[in-house]
């Protein structure tokens, strides 16, 4: 690798972002070198400046961001000195970009193939007809279904994983020297992700394209990159060859990133057979309009236990939660709390029944009223359910803030916008605890958070469970989360429970084929994991193709 010519050279890059009227540094002097045909993984948590740096390698900055110092050269061309026209001649033609959300990054008003051929025709690389034929060829190579026909659809008619591959094809349309992949699989389900990863890797290899692969997922970057660069808050932490980096990280921060997945709760003794479950979901079938989306779903959640409900988007996890809370009354079946049947509709439940079932949401940002202070947000359920007022209420809120490890003196009068993502999620937890419930539904509570922060939330939830004897229903698509916190696992697919049982059983074969597919699709830190899996199973037996086969 080391003898190949240099393609991108970034020296001493400093970047600033405008907030209100002042410029604050977001990249604090980073060097980056990329050789022709090489894949560099850029990794870091949110706010590390990965995307900003990736775009800067294209000579592009978003509105409100500027490069204050340093140089960017692409194949000998100084991108920072180049005029807008000169840069336009490179963008799309020699440097291409693949965005995180293909659904948002394709123009909804045009067919895929028209968007595909726009670059080549505008850059005079190919005629429209040639580019369309080439597009179909690329779709075939990326293993898209119906490659000759899929391009004539509009973006909304194509699934997320397919769109992401179509966008990779679009980036390839002019056969660029460099592609920036900006978290291309973050928004996808695991079984879909693996397919996209495999096809991106193949095509990058086939055309010997250099790439900068941006992600927060170590296991993903381990499959894709030749070298890895770790960023923290706009500074480079370290950079090394992928294998060296994985086996032998030097810096403390890198080590802590690597160690995140080690948190695991000890196995609890089995529940006695005659115990009454706290929550029992019994034969629930539910529909949106006339279409059934849940089919005969049953499972129990016992006192002090965590049941993880696992499945991909659209599998009915959140719908099950809506049935339990009474937001969506089931069509058939019912929910029991401590052995007593709950009214199906939350409007018919009494305050005591409502109090016992609380919820924590995925997006702490939108689940907290931005106009209310933290004290008011937590104080509201304290007053509503527990009837506390004045000084007693204040004392209880302070107690709750202590429980979630945020000092009351400091946070009581703050607004949600003054907190970080992890702190907001803690407020969400405190609000649920304020009702002193037996049972809390945690709906993807860690999926919007960085790994280190997410781990802190999981530890907090585990401690609270031990202290207060809470039962959790933990909705997640992330099997690492399941491994660390669950006692029992329920696997859902298309509104059905395909398998359920204690966690220890679930992570050992034999499995239901779908569980097996789900488990095998989770990327591992081993850089050979994807190659090995592909060699073992073949390209047709992974991802959506395998799911379709099962059906």
């Amino acid at each position: 690798m080391s003898d190949r010519p240099t393609l991108v050279e970034m020296r001493g890059i400093k970047m600033e972002g405008r907030s209100d009227e002042t410029w604050t540094p977001i990249i604090k002097g980073v060097d980056l070198t990329l050789q022709k045909g090489e894949v560099l993984g850029l990794i870091g948590e949110s706010g590390a400046g990965k995307s900003t740096l990736g775009l800067a390698a294209m000579g592009f900055t978003r509105d409100g961001v500027r490069i204050s110092e340093g140089s960017v050269t692409f194949d000998g061309i100084d991108l920072l000195a180049a005029s807008a026209e000169q840069k336009r001649a490179l963008l799309g033609k020699r440097i291409a970009y693949v965005a995180q959300s293909a659904a948002a990054s394709f123009n909804p008003a045009h067919k895929l193939i028209d968007q595909h051929s726009e670059g080549p025709t505008q850059h005079n690389v190919m005629s429209k007809a040639e580019s369309e034929a080439d597009g179909m060829e690329l779709y075939r190579k990326l293993r898209l279904p119906n490659p000759d026909e899929i391009g004539f659809r509009y973006p909304h008619q194509v699934s997320g994983g397919q769109l992401q591959r179509a966008m990779t094809a679009m980036a390839m349309s002019c056969r660029p020297d460099l592609i920036i992949f900006d978290e291309p699989t973050t928004a996808l389900d695991v079984t879909t992700q693996i397919e996209v990863l495999a096809s991106i890797r193949d095509i990058v290899e086939e055309y010997d394209t250099a790439a900068i692969y941006i992600t927060h997922d170590l296991a993903v970057v381990a499959q894709m990159a030749d070298r890895i660069k770790v960023l923290l808050k706009g500074d480079e932490v370290e950079e090394n060859e992928t294998r060296e980096m994985l086996s032998n990280p030097k810096e403390q921060y890198t080590k802590s990133l690597w160690a995140v997945r080690e948190f695991q709760r000890p196995q609890k003794p089995p529940v006695s057979t005659d115990a009454t479950p706290v929550i029992s979901v019994q034969g629930v079938t539910a529909a949106y309009g006339k279409i059934d989306v849940l089919h005969d779903v049953s499972f129990d959640i016992h006192a002090g236990r965590t049941v993880a409900v696992v499945g991909e988007s659209g599998s009915g996890k959140s719908t099950t939660a809506r049935c339990i809370t009474g937001l969506l009354p089931p069509r058939i079946g019912h929910i029991e709390l401590d052995g007593n049947t709950l009214p199906l509709d939350y409007r018919q439940r009494d305050k005591e029944q409502l109090r016992q079932v609380q919820m924590i949401y995925q997006m702490a940002d939108t689940a907290l009223n931005p106009r209310k202070k933290i004290g008011e947000i937590i104080g509201r359920p304290v007053e509503f359910y527990m009837g506390l007022k004045g000084r007693e209420k204040r004392r209880r809120v302070e107690e709750l803030l202590d429980q979630i490890e945020l000092p009351a003196a400091q946070y009581f009068d703050r607004l949600p916008s003054e907190l970080s993502g992890g702190q907001k999620q803690r407020i969400g937890i405190a609000r649920a605890l304020a009702a002193e419930p037996k049972f809390i539904i945690c709906d993807e509570v860690t999926s919007a958070l960085d790994q280190l922060v997410a781990e802190g939330i999981l530890r907090l939830l585990a401690d609270l469970q031990d202290e207060l004897g809470l039962s959790y229903m933990f909705i997640t698509h992330d099997l690492a989360t399941v491994r660390s916190i669950a006692d029992e696992v329920v696997v859902m697919k298309d509104g059905n429970v395909v398998e359920q049982g204690p966690k220890t059983d679930m992570f050992q074969p034999p499995h239901h084929p779908y569980t097996d597919l789900l488990l095998s699709s989770v990327p591992e830190m081993d850089p050979d994991w994807l190659s090995t899996l592909l060699a073992e199973r073949g390209a047709d037996n992974i991802g959506d193709a395998a799911v379709d086969k099962m059906a």
Binding site: F60, Y97, S101, A104, S105, N107, P108, E118, G119
Partner: protein, 329 residues
Amino acid sequence: MNPVLTIILQRLALGLLTLLIVSFVIFTAVNMLPGDFAEALLGQSATPEAVAAIRKDLNLDQPFFVRYFSWLGAMLTGDLGVSYAQLNFQSNMGASTLKTVADQIAPRFANTMFLAGVTACIAVPFAVTLGVLAALYRNSVFDKGVNIATLTSISSPEFFLAYILVLFLAVLNPLLPSIANIYQGISFQDRLVATLLPALTLTLVVTAHMMRMTRAAIISLLASPYIEMARLKGISPLRVIVKHALPNAWAPIINVIALNLAYLITGVVVVEVVFNYPGIGQLFVDAVKNRDIPVVQACCLIFAGAYILLNLAADILSIMTNPRLRHPK
């Protein structure tokens, strides 16, 4: 059934219902005008007997709902009635041929539609182009200049704009006639020339709304990921806006265009008066002055119909620009 067709039929039914409600509101409102045709006609010399006789003649002595439903019934069969002024003229002078309200309104309405049409042909492309250019060169001198100019023209009284145009285009440089002389059997070309000054005045009045909405709708999309994607593909700024932003911005623009076109049909009395243009606006104002209720009501219904139809057309066009509705999964 095709979802687009379903939506169109629903809107059409709602439009008819709206028209029915409007007809009642119009009838009630006209009924509440102080005085009636009899008093307006007789003026100072009104004696109770004479007023009562005319009222009886015109069935004005009937109860409110009887009059409403007989009017509505006639309306549904396409009979707009006969102007009171005409009726009165006939009963006094014994004229043999009666001009119905429809006969009176038709040529005026055609003139109004012609003026609105010419204005729309000039104003809509002009405003949308200006909007696109303002979005392309946003926050530049050009953008600010266009904004100031259009806002100034919309803020000035119509008659003022009209006289300025007359001054420059008819008096100082005699290019166009200052009076819109439209007669029966006029050739299309002459008609166009005669209509041009009023149409230009109205263009100045309606451009600002449409141009500003075009600009705002495009700029609100410029932060979208697909616009960033287009830029990162090296597409030129003009093409980014015309090919990538505009197709997704049509819905709000079309709605503002429809509102402005409706204004052209219903609200141009001042311009008609300035240029002595024989449109429906003047007829309407005269009819109100005379309490000539059949004409007033017919005009109101036409105005309401124009609003409803244009909004319906805007809705349908907005739907047609949405690929999700045009091409369901």
